[in-house]
């Protein structure tokens, strides 16, 4: 414990990096995943095929493989060589998580009665307008709980970055554990920091559910 307190700057820096990784990856995955979902339910068959292929390919690939590709394989052929490590981490996590976000959003879209979209098209809205102002707002409401699960899993998945050059929480945990006989305290402290982060996501999800329930 004394080690942790003496070097709390390192712990806080690591915590901050994990937060950055989680928030940036979360935003990117939500945006990209929603676009993918719109492509998958949209009328253009080329886009539909592309999005379906993406989900099949990425969702069936382990995250570790994604990291190895972005951090080891790609630089070997000259890609991402000068890219900051944080950006590479966000790319690896987002590419992976987007597939899950896409499927969660799609389940929400499917939960919106077909009549809603038909009515929107009947009054002359385009597909884009139908999605953004009629279907997606209702779909998001339905997917808050599964989306929270996806984001929580994503937050914990950022720990893989520990062995890909990012000095985030898990990296620091191993740094401290290597130097101390008191592994248990160190493990519990870092586990607690992850719990705090994940609880923030849960609390946000509960808040959204409550707010959107009133609006229904």
């Amino acid at each position: 414990m004394d080690d942790l307190l003496a070097e709390r700057d390192l712990v806080l820096q690591a915590f901050w990096l994990t937060i950055q990784l989680a928030v940036l990856s979360g935003l990117c995955s939500l945006a990209f995943g929603t676009v993918l979902a719109a492509m998958r339910v949209g009328p253009i068959s080329v886009l539909r095929g592309a999005a379906t292929t993406y989900v099949t390919l990425v969702r069936n690939t382990p995250l570790l493989l994604m990291f190895i590709f972005v951090f080891v394989a790609a630089p070997n052929i000259g890609w991402f060589v000068g890219t900051p490590f944080l950006v590479k981490g966000v790319i690896a996590v987002s590419v992976y998580t987007s597939a899950f976000v896409c499927e969660a959003v799609r389940s929400g879209v499917n939960a919106v009665p077909l009549g809603q979209a038909e009515a929107a098209r009947a009054i002359g809205l385009t597909f884009g307008q139908t999605m953004t102002s009629v279907v997606l707002p209702q779909a998001f409401r339905a997917v808050v709980p599964p989306m929270a699960s996806v984001l929580i899993a994503m937050t914990k998945n950022t720990s893989i970055a520990a062995v890909f050059g990012l000095a985030e929480l898990t990296f620091r945990m191993r740094y401290f554990a290597n130097n101390s006989a008191d592994d248990t305290t160190i493990f519990l402290t870092f586990a607690l920091l992850y719990v705090v982060l994940v609880e923030l996501i849960s609390a946000g999800a509960i808040g959204l559910e409550r707010r959107w329930r009133a609006a229904r």
Binding site: F71, P75, G78, F85, V163, F164, G165, F171, Y175
Partner: protein
Amino acid sequence: MRHIRRAQAATVALVLAAALAACGDAGDDDDSGTDVDVAESAADDFDDGTRMRELADSGKVVIGVKVDQPGIGFQGATDDMPSGLDPEMGKILAADLGIAPEDIEWKETISDNREPFIENGEVDLVIASYSITDERRQVVGQAGPYYVTGQQLLVAADSDIESLDDVKGTEVCSVTGSTSLENIEAEGAKPRGFDTYSECVDQVLNGTVDAMTTDGAILLGYAAQNPDQLKVVVEPFSEERYGIGYSLDHPEMCEWITDTLEDAFEDGSWASAFEATLGQSGVETPEPPAMDECPAA
């Protein structure tokens, strides 16, 4: 029926692929190390009841080595024997017992299982980039050192990094959780932790990070694989003394290991072992280190 046929086809394809892979590798297996003079009727040289006598009589010795550190202890998928400085030391010791290199049983050890392997008698000797420390000497015997190295930096051949002061603000790779990474962070470098040394070498080769750091001996091994693209720089800024692990149940082994290595230092077989392995990186063969006294039995 169709399924069976498909399975057969897959099996055939796999076998073919394996055969092809084996062909591809067979050609470049030219670093089989140095030859050693195997002592004849060696058993008579040792007193009854000593472990050396037992080993010489049985004509078999089990030696634990690493298999993932080029130049030190390395065994590729198609190699039938490990190569590197550590196996060379093993061959020298076995030869003194009258055991030919092909009769040595090599056992892969990793850093975490070296003490248990010695304590349980699974191996007779551990020669696996095994740094001598006081903590380890509490539980196992360590004779030597037969090689002294220290933390250094591996950089691209055209790198500007020349001294330890140059690493401030640069990105330096090593294995996550290792002491080397902590040491370099203390020097002001940005630590980049990866899972394996070979991933770090890739990061240096493709220019993602500025340098990689760990024991110089390990770095020399990688530099020997890519002498045109990589070089080892900076005076060692820590001291690692590689020793040979043996069981404390057989304290008599220490004198034997030390004497045999002393002979190898003097007759030049240590130097030729170094030249055939780590020396491939272009580094000069160092003076053999001074060895520790064996603890009084």
